[in-house]
């Protein structure tokens, strides 16, 4: 080894086949797969010549330096100072720790930290394995690239962005943080936007890195038609949680782009929104979270494409739900207390008809095998307290449509023609409604020697209601003719005693294991009281199927409780075939034995009627699942009339996924339920498909067919015809609708390219979710996204519909 270098302690370890001392030109050269370790850097080359005179080191022949931080620099010829820090490198390539790459015919490194690449190329893509010389998918070719390690910055001069060797964009000067930087103040990737109401939009977010655990992002957006939209987002993280606050606001230039109130926010000059969401972990069992959003008008979020966590993702659940919640959980206990505020996003929905709920408490505690009695004790508590300003109704015969607000120019919000119990449902009572429910259940499995399972069951439940309807403002007075509008506090108790009998059999054959289990339940209870006085808020939905066949109380909420004596009988089959394949089946029926059938006595929303349980012998329910191999799952379930076996409800689905193919199909068909105001058959078919090909490419598409729209059109036609025949002078003769069954409720298709350094995604989506009664156009949106790893993301969303009048947006003149 040749000790060199100024610092006495620094030892340089040189390992080579031979060392040649050349006295006359005073050089020392190591020859033959040389390896030198010095100051944490390793230098490898075929030949390293050290010129004592000029104190320069020249390494040639697949020379390579590996820095202490893992950066690898290779080149044909290195001409460096004797401590290998500075110098020139010919035709070099640098691979950084985050797999980004520099290459250049010539580069110079000065004082060990500034690297200047002449005619350098930067890319984040891996070179093609089999043809390394092929240009990577994208690269930035610049006259000079300067990487300042101390500043952790990379500067590009006269840069050209090239895709597969083809120059796409020319950027005179560009700079960005290097691989070691996670958070850096500066501009982020621009975003583009185009909708008919806003014009073309260009937004350039500016990120301010105030501290490692809090920051501010300001996003100014210039919109050609509406002017300047300002958005700000504050993010803050502390020891056991984090939260963010978002605000947006604009002084609209062209208010005519939006319909006048109440169909749009055309009258507002300033429009904006503020939102905060966060979550705090109090201890391993408890967390507190909130997501509260408010806007100047209900259309702002969608008109200006403001991203809000309070808006549910699916196109058909469009409302902003603000919630604050405290949640606690251990292995056998669940506690959840929360409040809700609902902001519907379409003019069709009246915000005052939505309740402000606070608090709603759900608590469930289990004690497994309590001493002396054994089995399982379960404590359940629910407290619900809500207020509503305007009552909401639903006509049982919606053909003769009436509205709550009828003015010469418009009419809004469903009302009833006749406000009588058998003609009109009260889906939401105005005023304040509160209920507290507590229930104790006990059950225990007794298994006799031959394998029969007897499960006695006992339960006591008590509810206290406090209902003070408000019949003063809006259309609230109409409630008086339907239900008793007096303020009152009343209670309800429901003791129950029951027994469940199961006798499972098992047979294992060579090809599979089968389990057949007959199940029978019988329960005795008094009748449910006061069902007519209850404003049913949380138990409006009742779907009798395999999941509640063996529930002791089949109502979906606490406002109603199942009374009278009842028996549920069914047969359950479960087969497993090998590791992955399985099948199961459940068929059953429920019998009302005595007392008053809770499902035959409707409340203010007639829950229970037309549910299949409202007859002495209930409808049959069945559910089957079959997974022949991993990747294909077929499911079907249904409810069949107890006398005619006609299908009342059918749900079917198939999901298939195999290496590059993934399909999922869902079909539903529900017969009309006239007592609930559902007069038409509801039917839908949803298909989503994605295929990936050529390693990085994938195509995805999904379409939702609304199979009952043609029946809706025919009904409208029948009404219009009836009107025309009644008053031929003032109404025109309607034409027969020729809409076929396959109407697309929503469709979207997307193409995606994704490899280790690029995400390119273009998607088109169309839906009539945002269209409201009276407007014709659907909102069509194109989303374009190009993300070059480490360079930032460019995304652009354009709404194709030139004249879209959904969401309070006036049809555009342009």
């Amino acid at each position: 080894q040749a000790p060199a270098g100024s610092k006495p302690g620094e030892r340089m370890v040189v390992d080579a086949r031979e060392l040649v001392y050349d006295k006359d030109n005073n050089t020392v050269s190591a020859v033959g797969d040389v390896q030198i370790l010095y100051q944490g850097r390793t230098i490898e080359a075929d030949r390293v010549v050290y010129d004592r005179q000029s104190k320069r080191v020249v390494a040639t022949g697949n020379a390579r330096i590996t820095e202490s931080n893992g950066t690898v620099i290779t080149g044909d010829r290195f001409n460096l100072t004797d401590d290998f820090r500075d110098g020139f490198i010919d035709s070099l390539r640098v691979v950084n720790t985050d797999k980004t790459r520099f290459s250049a015919p010539r580069a110079e490194r000065t004082d060990g930290e500034v690297f200047v690449f002449d005619k350098g190329i930067y890319t984040a893509c891996e070179p093609c394995v089999d043809q390394p010389e092929r240009p990577p998918f994208w690269q930035v070719r610049a006259a000079r690239i300067i990487h300042k390690k101390a500043e952790q910055m990379i500067y590009y001069e006269e840069a050209r962005l090239e895709f597969a060797g083809v120059p796409i964009a020319y950027i005179p000067y560009m700079s960005g943080p290097d691989a070691t930087v996670k958070r850096k103040t500066g501009f982020l990737a621009p975003k583009f936007l185009n909708t008919s109401a806003l014009g073309y939009g260009f937004s350039l977010p500016y990120f301010i890195n105030l501290a490692p655990n809090y920051d501010l992002t300001l996003t100014p957006t210039y919109l050609t038609r509406q002017g300047f939209l300002g958005q700000a987002e504050w993010r803050h993280r502390f020891v056991n949680g984090s939260y963010n606050i978002r605000a947006a606001g604009i002084f609209q230039q062209d208010q005519k782009a939006f319909l006048a109130s109440p169909f749009g926010a055309g009258d507002d000059k300033f429009r904006g929104s503020v939102e905060t969401s966060g979550k705090v972990f109090l201890n391993p069992r408890w967390n507190f979270s909130w997501d509260v959003a408010a806007a100047t008008d209900r259309f702002f979020f969608k008109n200006y494409r403001i991203r809000s966590e309070s808006i549910t993702a699916s196109t058909y659940l469009q409302e902003s739900t603000s919630t604050v919640s405290l949640n606690g959980q251990t292995a056998d206990a669940w506690f959840d207390m929360r409040g809700y505020y609902f902001q519907p996003l379409t003019y069709y929905d009246w915000q005052k008809q939505q309740p402000i709920v606070g608090p709603v408490v759900d608590y469930n505690k289990r004690i497994h095998k309590p001493s002396m009695i054994g089995g399982e004790l379960s404590f359940t508590v629910n407290i619900t307290n809500l207020t509503r300003e305007a009552a909401s109704y639903k006509a049982l015969t919606p053909n003769d449509q009436r509205y709550l607000i009828a003015t010469p120019s418009y009419s809004l919000f469903d009302g009833c023609a006749v406000y009588q119990k058998n003609q009109c449902l009260v889906t939401g009572l105005a005023g304040s409604i509160a209920r507290a429910t507590a229930e104790v259940d006990w059950r225990r499995n007794f298994i006799d020697p031959i394998g029969q399972v007897w499960t006695p069951y006992a339960s006591v439940r008590a509810d206290v209601f406090s209902i003070n309807p408000n019949t003063t403002k809006y259309a609230n007075t109409n409630v008086a003719t339907i239900a008793d509008p007096s303020d009152e506090v009343f209670g309800r108790a429901m003791p129950a005693v029951g027994l469940m009998y199961r006798f499972p059999f098992i047979a294992s054959t060579s090809w599979g294991t089968h389990i057949i289990e007959p199940v029978a339940q019988v329960v005795a209870r008094p009748n449910e009281t006061n069902s007519l006085r209850v404003a049913n808020e949380d138990a409006q939905s009742l779907v009798f199927d395999d999941t509640n066949l063996f529930e002791w109380n089949k109502f979906s909420g606490y406002d109603r409780v199942e009374g009278g004596s009842r028996a549920n009988v069914g047969l359950r089959y479960s087969g497993t075939f090998g590791k992955e394949a399985y099948a199961n089946l459940l068929v059953g029926q429920s019998y009302h034995l005595g007392g008053r059938n809770s499902y035959a006595s409707g409340d203010l929303v007639n829950t229970g009627l037309n549910s299949g349980l409202d007859t002495r012998r209930s409808d049959y329910v069945a559910k089957a699942q079959f997974q022949p191999f991993k990747g294909l799952l077929l499911q079907a379930g249904g409810r069949f009339n107890e006398s005619t076996f006609e299908t009342q409800r059918a749900d079917a689905s198939a999901t298939f996924s195999y290496k590059f193919l993934s399909t999922s199909i869902g079909y539903s068909r529900y017969e009309p339920q006239p007592d609930l105001g559902i007069t038409r058959r509801r039917e839908g078919l949803s298909i989503s498909q994605s295929v990936s090909f050529a390693q990085y490419w994938s195509v995805r598409g999904n379409v939702l067919f609304d199979l009952d729209k043609y029946k809706y059109d025919r009904e409208r036609y029948r009404d219009a015809l009836a009107l025309y025949q009644q008053y031929p002078a003032s109404y025109s003769n309607p034409i027969y609708p020729n809409t076929g069954p396959f109407q697309t409720a929503s469709a979207s298709v997307g193409l995606r390219y994704q490899d280790e350094c690029t995400i390119f995604d273009v998607s088109y989506s169309q839906s009539y979710a945002d269209r409201q009664a009276g407007s014709t156009k659907d909102t069509r949106t194109v989303m374009f996204r190009l993300e070059l790893r480490t360079l930032g993301e460019i995304s652009y969303s354009q709404n194709l519909g030139a004249t879209s009048t959904g969401d309070g947006v006036a049809s555009s003149s342009r």
Binding site: L317, T321, Q329, A331, D332, A333, D336, F342, P344, T346, D349, Q353, Q354, N364, R366, H368, K369, G374, G375, E376, S392, T427, R444, I447, P449, T455, F503, P504, F505, I506, A507, S508, H514, I515, E517, E537, D538, Q540, S541, V543, D545, T547, S556, G557, S574, G575, T576, S653, G666, S668, G684, L685, S686, D708, K709, A745, S746, Y768, D770, Q772
Partner: protein, 152 residues
């Protein structure tokens, strides 16, 4: 041929009969609402009796996932008038102490519910669908665990 699953003579792969093997299954906490109801239904199904706890020789761990599917839509107001809650559970039955897998699987339940103009009612219907799905998943998983326990 068929024999009672909980009969004394129905031998299990892990020793003793299926009945006692099930008494030896421990089910740790599963996070979330579906997790709470699934875990506690499984604990009752495996050992809902009165005898003192047996030594736990098996452990059933599970993770849950829920998604929502919209299939029927009301054209007049552009709103989903029903939805289907799809709850998926990936479960593993392992020997206590070692992580030797006795059985693994994925179980799925689709629980449809009605939606209405009242958002609170739709929200509570979705919550009830989660609870129903969790209880049905417990039955499906119990059956597949029982099948896995039965000797060859």
């Amino acid at each position: 041929c068929f024999q009672p699953l909980y009969g004394e003579g129905t031998v299990s792969r892990v020793g003793g009969n299926v009945r006692n093997a099930m008494l030896g299954i421990e089910v740790p906490e599963i996070k979330g609402l579906v997790g709470h109801y699934l875990r506690n239904e499984l604990v009752f199904e495996f050992d809902g009796g009165g005898e003192p706890d047996r030594q736990k020789i098996l452990k059933l761990t599970a993770t849950t996932r829920e998604t929502l599917e919209v299939i029927t839509v009301d054209y007049a107001n552009g709103r989903a008038d029903s939805a289907v809650l799809v709850a998926t559970v990936d479960w593993q039955l392992t020997r206590a102490g070692s992580n030797e897998t006795v059985a693994t699987g994925q179980s799925v339940v689709r629980a449809p519910y009605e939606r209405s103009q009242q958002r609170f009612a739709s929200l509570r219907a979705a919550r009830d669908a989660q609870v129903r799905a969790a209880k049905e998943l417990a039955q499906l998983i119990k059956a597949r665990v029982a099948a896995a326990l039965v000797a060859g």
